[in-house]
């Protein structure tokens, strides 16, 4: 299935886009998604290890399964305040 992923800050800067598509198998975990993301968008490699994956505005864990209609976002460590 195709996942539309919101990107922020340096992740958005490296890809030149605020949203990208990532193709994963149905039932893919967050870990699977991370692999697919890096393979399909190698420009994210410099920060891939530090990216957070948020599912419906919540921090995710690697074992979680990506739901079909969720809002997915990827971003590097935060620096607000």
């Amino acid at each position: 299935m195709k996942i539309t992923v919101k990107l922020f800050a340096r992740a958005s800067q490296l890809t030149g886009a605020s949203e990208i598509d990532v193709e994963v198998d149905a039932g893919a975990s967050v870990a699977d998604f991370r692999e697919a993301l890096e393979a399909q968008h190698p420009e994210l490699k410099p920060i891939a290890g530090s990216l957070f994956v948020a599912i419906d505005s919540e921090y995710s864990s690697d074992e979680q399964v990506i739901p079909e209609f969720a809002q997915i976002a990827c971003f590097p460590p935060v620096s607000g305040g």
Binding site: K6, F8, A9, R10, S12, Q13, I47, G49, S50, L51, F52, A54, S57, E58, Y59, S60, S61, Q71, A73, F75, P76, P77, V78, S79, G80, G81
Partner: protein
């Protein structure tokens, strides 16, 4: 004690923050102590000169996390009213990027609760700043971006 919607004000804005309005919002006869914290744009960082900052936010998640922080703060301290506002977009020197105001019956609690709110905001709330340095370069700030990501701890865990 859970804080009702009328006792909290949580906002992202691309306009200058009116800090005085927040101070007045949290002031009540139930309280004896009010604190206002402002994060402001500093010119010098490790000897480098900042011209301006750009703040980017993931609005839905930022507001959700800011409200969670308000909930956790109200569980830990006898907070009467809280306001958290974070700025987005371009900020000039000395402008406030974040404002936190809150009130409690006694002074010790406003200091502890205020410190908790700003410390946790900087860990959990998805907002990022880009430094526009005086040498013409720009740089997204991502603390610890060289290390693998570890989710911010939350009370639920």
């Amino acid at each position: 004690m859970p804080l009702s919607p009328e006792d909290r004000f949580v906002e992202l804005t691309d306009q200058p923050i009116d800090a005085d309005r927040l101070t007045q919002f949290v002031t009540t006869p139930l309280s004896g102590a009010v604190i206002l914290f402002l994060g402001t744009v500093r010119e010098l960082t490790h000897g480098k000169r900042t011209i301006s900052l750009d703040y980017d936010a993931y609005p839905e998640m930022a507001l959700k996390k800011m409200n969670e922080l308000v909930d956790e703060t109200a569980e830990k301290w006898p907070v009467q009213k809280v306001a958290i506002v974070h700025r987005t977009g371009k900020l000039e020197l000395a402008e406030a990027s974040v404002a936190i105001a809150l009130s409690c019956p006694h002074r010790g609690d406003v200091f502890d609760a205020g410190r908790f709110l700003i410390d946790e905001l900087k860990i959990r709330v998805p907002i990022w700043k880009k430094e526009n340095w005086s040498d013409g370069t720009t740089e997204w700030v991502h603390p610890g971006a060289d290390a693998p990501s570890t989710n911010p701890r939350t009370e639920a865990e």
